[in-house]
């Protein structure tokens, strides 16, 4: 394993120290790990977090118009409730805390504990899950769809709403709406290597690819012979576009009752005439040029289906270390979503508007 690191056990701390040095507009706390804005706003605190290794997500998205705080866990491992609690305490300004949580067993369990801790301090708090990975077919026999590329779009859009002064419930509803209107699917040409593990998580032959990977270097749902970019893009795009009626029961926090309530939520279908925000995302090791080759075909397919791409983002935004591969995210946009998409954002990892 060759990596530009000093010590497998210090990668995350040193990454944070580097971020602190490079970005005076951020306040980086080392023990426990969290990142907040240096100047906190008087607004709903939007906080996310998850395993490290997906940079710029989440820490790189802390800044005006996006996140107020981020909690990086160990490599590909959910952060812990104490981090989330501390981060929330520092970031909140009396308008409440919204956690945006990728749907993985570990993240959900740790964030739920954090919600309980924050609520215990009489701070208004909510946690909204993002579960957009259509590689996972059902939620009955699995841990449910994973949170992947849509997380970036959700953080941008909900972050803009919070920046504009929306209250906690409005931000939470918007996050829920984004989640029900977005879908993603990814693929890999190579595995990545977790520094502490020292070797690639899985092996792919020179003529193989993996479809439906997550973002943690875990294998996907299907191994296939390696294909041309257009064919891969076609598989991913049509799977996303044709996905219908995914239903799951998620827990949300009932502030009144001070307890969890279950909600059954069903994704909105994609249809002819829909306007989309699109993310073509590198898993880390795939060059930008190849992402544009993908975008070209994706645009062609959408056009053929009378689906209109109204905004797009192409680049490495939610990665798996140095993994080669990419993911596609489509988000059906309405006026509210578009308004907040177009609002300016200034973070280390994303600047628009």
């Amino acid at each position: 394993m060759k990596k530009i690191i000093n010590d497998v056990d210090r990668v995350i701390v040193e990454t944070l120290e580097g971020m602190a040095a490079a970005h005076p507009e951020l306040k980086v706390n080392i023990d426990p790990h969290y990142i907040v804005r240096a100047h906190k706003g008087n607004k709903v605190a939007v906080i996310s977090g998850g395993g490290s290794g997906h940079e710029p997500l989440h820490g790189g998205f802390v800044g005006t118009g996006m996140l107020d705080g981020a909690c990086p866990g160990e490599m590909f491992t959910s952060p812990t409730p104490d981090q989330m609690y501390e981060c929330a305490k520092v970031a909140e300004s009396g308008k409440g805390v919204l956690f945006l949580v990728k749907n993985y067993t570990g993240d959900v369990m740790n964030f739920e504990t954090a919600v309980e801790l924050v609520a215990g301090e009489n701070i208004a708090v909510q946690a909204i899950l993002v579960d957009d990975d259509v590689a996972v077919k059902d939620s009955l026999y699995t841990a449910g769809r994973r949170g992947v590329g849509l997380t970036v779009l959700m953080e941008k859009i909900v972050g803009a709403a919070a920046e504009a002064g929306c209250d906690l419930d409005t931000c939470a509803s918007l996050a829920r709406k984004v989640n029900l209107n977005g879908r993603s699917l990814g693929m890999a040409l190579t595995s990545c290597t977790v520094p502490a593990a020292g070797k690639p998580t899985f092996q792919l032959a020179d003529d193989e690819m993996e479809i439906g990977i997550g973002i943690h270097g875990e294998p996907g749902i299907k191994r296939m012979p390696f294909k041309r970019a257009d064919e891969i893009t076609e598989i991913l795009t049509t799977t996303i576009l044709d996905d219908k009626g995914y239903s799951r029961t998620l827990r949300e926090w009932d502030r009144g009752a001070g307890d969890w309530v279950e909600k059954t939520l069903v994704d909105k279908d994609f249809n002819e005439g829909d306007e989309m925000i699109v993310l073509v995302n590198s898993m880390g090791g795939t060059p930008l040029s190849e992402l544009y080759v993908v975008y070209r075909k994706l645009a062609e397919i959408c056009k053929g289906r009378k689906i209109k791409i109204v905004r797009s983002l192409v680049g490495p935004y939610i990665t798996s270390l140095e993994m080669q591969g990419f993911s596609i995210t489509l988000l059906k946009a309405d006026a509210e979503i578009l308004q907040y998409w177009d609002a300016p954002v200034r973070t280390p990892g994303l600047q628009l508007g």
């Binding site: 160990e74 812990t80 409730p81 570990g106 369990m109 026999y141 699995t142 977790v194 997550g214």
Partner: protein
């Protein structure tokens, strides 16, 4: 009876065992997860080990609760809240105790298993650590009369069998569930780490 010193020794041995099995557990997790379970457990138990000196002289309930809180804030992932809850619940159930008989061990296992269910909502056959804890609780319950060492030998034997029995299962919880049928044929990493914890307890008692 198992003394408070033996409980501390168990936790210390667990830290050693997790360090020694870091790669083994990580490899199991690489096959059907994200290749971090050994790293997570090792990180958590080395923190627990750091805490042990200040726990000397405390009652067993406090020791277990502190262990749970330490695991909760250092392991992360799925196993962090799960093992965190296991130890915190066991600590609550054994509050004030300074030594444990087989009955108390039953209580420990039961509250641990219940904590796993509460957090993870696992049922039998989901291919998780629950598939080790559930049969262990049953066997323990049926053998309350035995001396701690003989009792633990039975529990460990059950755990080892139950761990191996997770291999043919198709995962329905946690990360491994994404693999569907491809999860079949591999032992669940959490089942393996749970078995290691039990074996470490048995070895502590056996050793003295």
């Amino acid at each position: 009876m198992i003394t408070e010193e033996q409980v501390l020794a168990w936790l210390e041995l667990s830290a050693t065992v997790m360090a020694e099995n870091k790669e083994f557990l990580t490899d199991l997790d690489a096959a059907i997860g994200d290749a971090d379970h050994g790293i997570n457990m090792n990180r958590g138990f080395s923190k627990v080990k750091d805490k042990l000196p200040e726990l000397a002289g405390k009652d067993i309930g406090t020791i277990l609760k502190t262990t749970g809180m330490t695991l909760m804030s250092s392991v992360g992932g799925a196993s962090g809240p799960l093992y965190g809850t296991v130890f915190m619940k066991a600590g609550q159930a054994l509050a004030g105790k300074t030594e444990l008989g087989s009955d108390d061990l039953c209580t420990l296992f039961q509250s641990g298993r219940d904590g796993i269910v509460q957090r993870g909502k696992a049922v039998a056959g989901d291919k998780t650590m629950f598939d080790v804890w559930a049969p262990v609780v049953e066997v323990a319950d049926a053998n309350r009369g035995l001396e701690p060492l003989a009792f633990l030998e039975m529990c460990v034997a059950t755990a080892e069998e139950a761990r191996d029995a997770t291999a043919p299962m198709q995962a329905r919880k946690g990360r491994a569930s994404y693999l569907g049928e491809r999860s079949i044929g591999h032992i669940d990493p959490g089942a393996a780490s749970s078995t290691l914890l039990l074996a470490a307890l048995r070895d502590t008692i056996k050793g003295g």
